[in-house]
Symmetry: C2
Subunit: 492 residues, 2 copies
């Protein structure tokens, strides 16, 4: 009965893959490193996208669409950005296939259809967008530009994992242009707050807001702000980033504006993005050995109703009752599915919806009808409750809120237990090896030390938290003087 | 004042480009044949997409996402489809760039990073999707699969035009799988009706529903159904297609299912799509020499309000009144913009919103306030009316409906006048050269005749209308016997 899921203890990595595939979120594809997002997974992404899109629009942004391809000469214009992505980009070199003269029915690349200039499939769109902004910006009156794009991007990663790291992924990338550095920094931080709001209040996942160390910055940024979440195996996951790009791209693409005093200056930039990677975070943070646990606010199906009956007469009575409940739940804006298919037993259905992480299950049998009750099961805690049908709709609405909050609280408690201070190197390594989570330790501020620590114990600086208190200390590795603790972790 | 637009009479093609670019819908990009869809154009596309998406979901479809890339071996599996698209596809051959040793700061394709198998950037997704469906379908219980994808696709067209024919474009592609041919054909026709409903009732553009001649079929289809619209220059434009694919893709990818009697058979398929090309149709069908004319039901801004005032006191009084009107309009679900920016005069704003095709403009001056009236201007007819402020919101709601209907009626009358029957070759050619539109003529049913007619006068068979009456006659070109008239036209 049901589909077999590897337990977390047995093999955490396999558990994750099982949930994604058997939970019908995604599938491997015929293309190396690329995935197929299945309807259930895509419905989840649509819910996430719609909430984020509204948040972006409420903060004054508009959507637009820029080309998939970046001509090589534009790609290389911002040197650090180019260097950062050159190693992993898909390159289009030809624009035609032709019949293989030696192999009937087969095709080969037509050598005569070689492009004069190669096209890079966008790994990120700063280059093509800033090249476009050059034509849009002359004066301070054209600023700010507050544009977002929902798109697919390609990064030819060597080791891929469904949702967490795929060669092609879906994301949004905001690209804004401003007249002053201050305004751009305000924008960068504002979008970090939007991301934190979304991940905490919709995905029920607490995050730490911070800024990256120089080593971990986005290629081409002056500062990278990030939100970091913690997974159940004690590894951190970067859930979103917002970059202050300074004037780097404006200089690379010669984008100047005349200010109120008619003085020319380069434009200030930000970019910020979250991706389908968030689905990976969601799965890893909340699920259990029986399957996914989806937060009610973004679950494609919030409530599933399963009838338990013998014979058509009982079925008809249950149907009638359920139809009224379904209509009432929908009127409350609740997404509900009545699964009265006759090709599976209730027990099989229960397991299937547990696997798929539907937050609330309602079972109704003939005897329940008599007693005017239903059986309610919470996915997150697995509690079962017998509840009166009177006012069941508002009960469920309330329960969905309760589950949303409980999931957040649980994840928060888990994370809070796993932020550990240490001033001792051996303990530092031991913490990473055993307890996991974030280790708060002093760092001497150099990239060399960061690299060395990564080499020694695979931990990276996840972030320097915003409003980090200054505190004198000694670097956990070198003993050199330090002014603050930073958060280390092993990470996805 | 305002931006200069080429008139239709002067240069129809330039008029179109002016509207698209100066009307802020799209821009050329640095990538050959690819466009940038600007925020105003993208907002229009979002409205269209959202309506279509709801229609698809209401007819039982779910969204999913499949890889951007198609490995060459899959691409070539369905021979006709491969042959149809091989000539115009972007091919990824390498996955890395590296520093150019001879040219500091420049990048070259790393010859060591050549892919073992080339990847085609999807021109359409039948191949990658049917290769995936193979893993999803075993039995009739797995059918039907009713999936849609919103995506970007690339077709390396030699001659491109903004929206109408771009190397990259945005579209949706439905891909369904069925147990019987009949069910697949029903689906094909159902989606054609959905498209016709959308284009007629939302885009205010009448279409002729029909089926393509074999020459004009989608590569790999058994039958291609289409909707054909007429542009103001008398040329036809294919606005959407729905294909009955038979078992061609199931056979190419070996997708079989066991039916209720446990007999194995190949699965039946459909695919159907509309694209950002529809925006081109919208622009060409409705606009005039002053700019775009957008149908109210999909216009990003339905009503613009422009204040006319001298001094802050008048402005404050107008603001107060407008704020109430704006709130009331929004409550009615009407998209409204209050343009009180002080960097342009009212006359400039009037011209700008005419150019952008905003259906209704409201102007309010200090004297209007005294008289409790506003000035309303319709974009489609350019009529101006002085209207009482009492009940102005319901007046506008009604007016938007009136405009939507009037735009449809006008386009319909235009098209009806331009469906002309002829049985004479010279007249046939003359009609195409002068009056344009659809020419209804007999055809002997052969591809050779079709090719010859195309060669002689650039006209193609746009479609054989659904429920076409049978009528004996002689082919317009060859004089050979014919059983029905078909619609010819020059087309985009």
């Amino acid at each position: 009965m049901g589909k077999e899921i590897t337990s977390r203890e047995q093999d955490y990595s396999q558990w994750y893959n099982d949930l994604v595939i058997k939970g019908s979120l995604a599938d491997y594809s015929a293309v190396r490193g690329c995935m197929v997002i299945k309807p259930y997974g895509f419905a989840l992404w649509e819910n996430m996208r719609d909430v984020l899109d509204k948040m972006f629009k409420d903060t004054g942004h508009q959507n637009a669409y820029f080309p998939l391809f970046v001509p090589k000469s534009l790609f290389e214009a911002e040197e650090k950005n180019a260097e950062g992505f050159a190693k992993e980009c898909a390159v289009v070199t030809h624009y035609r296939l032709k019949s293989d003269p030696n192999n009937k029915g087969k095709l080969i690349v037509d050598p005569e259809a070689k492009l004069e200039e190669e096209l890079v499939v966008r790994p990120t769109s700063e280059a093509i967008i800033w090249n476009t902004y050059k034509g849009w910006i002359q004066s301070y009156r054209d600023l700010p530009i507050l544009v977002n794009q929902w798109a697919n991007v390609v990064r030819w990663e060597m080791r891929t994992r469904l949702f967490l790291r795929t060669a092609e992924f879906l994301w949004q990338e905001g690209h804004t242009a401003h007249a002053t550095a201050v305004e751009a920094i305000v924008e960068t931080k504002k979008m970090l707050e939007v991301y934190a709001d979304f991940v905490e209040n919709w995905m029920a996942l607490p995050v730490i807001k911070g800024v990256k160390s120089p080593n971990e910055r986005f290629a081409g940024a002056e500062d990278t702000y990030c939100i970091e979440a913690l997974m159940q195996d004690g590894k951190a996951l970067q859930a979103g980033t917002s970059h202050f790009l300074g004037q780097n791209f404006a200089k690379a693409f010669d984008v100047k504006f005349s200010d109120r005093d008619n003085k020319l200056d380069y434009v200030w930039a930000t970019s910020w993005g979250v991706s389908t990677r968030l689905i990976g975070a969601l799965v890893m943070a909340h699920s259990d050995d029986d399957g996914l646990i989806l937060p009610p606010r973004i679950a494609p199906v919030q409530v599933v109703i399963v009838p338990i009956y013998k014979g058509d007469e009982q079925k008809a009575m249950i149907d009638e009752k359920v139809q009224a409940i379904v209509a009432n739940l929908k009127a409350l804006g609740i997404s509900v599915k009545y699964d009265d298919s006759d090709n599976a037993r209730p027990g099989w259905k229960f397991a299937e919806y547990e696997l798929k992480g539907v937050p609330v299950r309602m079972a109704i049998g003939a005897r329940d009808l008599e007693k005017n009750v239903v059986e309610i099961a919470r996915r997150d805690t697995k509690e079962k409750m017998t509840v009166s049908m009177d006012g069941i709709e508002s009960y469920i609405k309330e329960l969905l809120n309760t589950i949303q909050q409980a999931m957040y609280d649980k994840a928060k408690a888990f994370r809070e237990e796993r932020i550990t201070k240490t001033d001792n190197w051996d303990e530092f390594v031991q913490l990473l090896d055993t307890k996991g989570g974030f280790v708060s330790a002093h760092w001497d501020g150099t990239g060399e030390t960061e690299d060395k620590i990564k080499e020694l114990c695979k931990a990276t600086i996840r972030c320097i938290p915003l409003d980090n208190p200054l505190e004198e200390g000694k670097c956990i590795l070198t003993g050199n003087p330090s002014t603050q603790r930073v958060l280390f972790a092993r990470a996805y």
